[in-house]
Symmetry: C2
Subunit: 538 residues, 2 copies
Amino acid sequence: MAFRNLDQLPAYAALKNLAASAVDLTRPDIITTERISKYVCSNGEFDLLYGTQRVNDDVLEALQQLADESRAVDQFLDMKRGQVINRIEGHDSENRQVLHTACRDLFTESPCEPKATAQARQELDKLRKFLGDIDAGVIVNSEGAGFTDMVQVGIGGSDLGPRALYHALSAYQVAGRRVHFISNVDPDDAASVLNKLDLSRTLVNVVSKSGTTLETLTNEELVRAAYVKAGLDPALHFVAVTGAGSPMDSPKYLRSFYMFDYIGGRYSVTSMVGGVMLGFALGYAAFEKILRGADMVDKAAEERDITKNIPLLMALLGIWNHNLLDCETLAVLPYSQGLIRFAAHLQQCDMESNGKAINRQGDFLPYQSGPIVWGEPGTNGQHAFYQLIHQGTTVVPVEFVGFRESQYDQDILIHETTSQEKLVANLLAQSLALAVGHKDDNPNRTFPGNRPNSILMADKLTPQTMGALLAIYEAKITFQGFLWNINSFDQEGVQLGKKLANQLLDHLSSWRLDGEYTGMTSDPEGWALLQTARVIRK
Amino acid sequence: MAFRNLDQLPAYAALKNLAASAVDLTRPDIITTERISKYVCSNGEFDLLYGTQRVNDDVLEALQQLADESRAVDQFLDMKRGQVINRIEGHDSENRQVLHTACRDLFTESPCEPKATAQARQELDKLRKFLGDIDAGVIVNSEGAGFTDMVQVGIGGSDLGPRALYHALSAYQVAGRRVHFISNVDPDDAASVLNKLDLSRTLVNVVSKSGTTLETLTNEELVRAAYVKAGLDPALHFVAVTGAGSPMDSPKYLRSFYMFDYIGGRYSVTSMVGGVMLGFALGYAAFEKILRGADMVDKAAEERDITKNIPLLMALLGIWNHNLLDCETLAVLPYSQGLIRFAAHLQQCDMESNGKAINRQGDFLPYQSGPIVWGEPGTNGQHAFYQLIHQGTTVVPVEFVGFRESQYDQDILIHETTSQEKLVANLLAQSLALAVGHKDDNPNRTFPGNRPNSILMADKLTPQTMGALLAIYEAKITFQGFLWNINSFDQEGVQLGKKLANQLLDHLSSWRLDGEYTGMTSDPEGWALLQTARVIRK
């Protein structure tokens, strides 16, 4: 059955009509305690409170129809069962399965589980053995000492997701273990990390699916040179996560872990891309809890009733705000300092997946696809960009994320409330303030309100809830791609810049070899840009 | 003379006409080497390359007229001379001067310098003495040992700008000195920082202009409690930066530094808000270089010819993209890993300044004011959200920032190019790729191009160029506020959420005192939100 564009689904026309008279959240009879307790969706660890979205039962019914008509859940099931959905009909494309869910669909035996699940189990077994060998002092440095630090060398999906989770879960770190990240081809990124490390006690985890990523290979060489300079043997320190058979699949590594072509980089946190580093930092058991949390959500996402399926409901509310109420961006604002890098991960996961302009038949879309996603933790953001969210000329839909308990339980009672209570009170107050607004005689103290938002709330940010949160967003993004009728799993948009950069670098290296290169600072008016232009326009 | 709205300036109508047939950057005759070398503006350390913006000489001429008609430069001069420009005519407002420029306008004597300059000199003298006493072992802990670490406790302007500069300049740190930040009221923020510190060797710098910021006072108490628990006397460790006469202006601090009501939090990096911490981390001389770099830009910003004034030109190009070409957001993409927190600083500086909906007469604006600002360092972003920037359904104007040399000079030659060259080549390639696009038989490999961007380029990220970069954006934001006819210096939009949070916290503390509080986890369906709704709707 052919996929249809969003605007070809019958429910879309109904939603257009409903959008013209969407709920006004500033009306005094709208935000009631009844509404708030009614518009709650709970899946396992998380509650989604969406009473502060501009919806009512009619809108929810039409969104349910939209989901049904798009066959979003069926497509999700097809994905999990291994159908080749990473493709564009009638055009050269990646033609791959999309099976990041198989990395965690392993806690219940299933007669029809895809081959990917067996591969995930195998890699997990290797990981458990590897971490056990480190703990047991089997894997040690040349002087017999154990490893305290790990450097993750990777970029994009091999950096942002793993880094976000490492920051989020630092409260659960194995004592005496630290992880550092080198991602950028900027040599200062590596220098600032390497200069503060005892390399002799450090493992280096080089992560690249293709084994050909410019930044990662360059940084690996840079780090290897530092080891050699320090008189250390890289063979005792370097491990790899890569595709089987890639140029990096080599016996020069202490251990090699595999990822597979059916796992996209931005969906790879729960594969070995995140597993090796998170296992080292948090222990194997904690990594397994991340997988369990994600698996619970992957299963909850199979529910067809949108009011019982958090990721599907978030996907639909996102489309309601973006396509029907014309909001161009989405702010994700976690009230947890640990989630400081979560928005950066989402920027990749969401914008690289759904920042597309053609559908799965290769036709240009007649509507907007993925929004611009951005955000910083609250309460910090309240003292920064919330001014614009409350009183600016642009409406920014917000997804708040919060937790009822702190991670460290090192809290203080001031004026009879704890810091954690102050944190959550601020989250709740912001959600309501955005919705209801405030009229004032002073126009500068007037808040228009009617600004849609929702709250994802769990008891505590743990490995399990982190896994669930990750999977909620992965599934939300995937559902939105199905609804927009786009391929969320390729990234052709990164190719042109890469091609032009390589052309310029080819010229640079020839000029250097020919002795013509005089340095980037020799022409302050954009020497290299001029050269690029010549290269491109030649 | 009354301020006029942007759309009342005669040049605005001309620009509307020009926008209807704006330059198409994908036309093969547009991006030429001549154009790239012509559209360059240089101020001191930086070059702005704007040949990849959708402008031509006609547009630039109209933008010049717009600047002249708005009296933007005159308003900037009025600001620097101490006029009370933080106000809304006819309504209760802050009614303050705006004199962050006075923090650095001190390298040349001026007969008419504002009182603020004398106050800045006085605080700098105190800072130099303080840092000298630390270096000389005059300021030591109870055991006579010196201080290696500093914790900055502050939020918003007392956190984001200082933190951005600390990261950007870590290559210049005094050996053996480190700085840490506690900002969020999330108790895990403080716990994760405090747990890894030797408090006995740590100074705590508490920063709040008003001396009443909830997060900062709470975190100060939390940190003080940790000192007391460790048997240490806070009087030997805590310094303060606050307004004279604020509740924090107290002899209980080892030293107190002042900031003044004419410096807004988001413009306060070059005041003692950034000075104490940056002076500790980098040394006094480096902090003075930051001020010098900023001062050079403040002076360059007085130039009336827009093609010779980087911040003014950036302000106008921003308005061209935002108001005339209808782009809602702005991505700032620095090709320097050190600038990883610069976009977060800009989000406050820009969005809190210009995320306003009323003009300086209290009337609602008939056009868009400040854009949504976001970004992450390249090349990292290339492996994340650039997909959307190149091929998404939304056009995102980009401001690239780059440097020709690395900070650490620890580089490696691979395939005859250095990492720094790879970094810059990627920046240049992205700029051109966004502009020129690419046609392909495969629709999924087609790049629409015509996506406006510019490049800010300097030789190296040093204290001086960092000061210049900071001041370029401060002045750009200020000019845009003048053009939009808004007050960029207040932040009434943060008040409503604060008020509602305090109401909820008042109830929480009464419930706790009355024994009615049963914990946030006792009602998974948004206990606290229900209570908030009751409080608000009662």
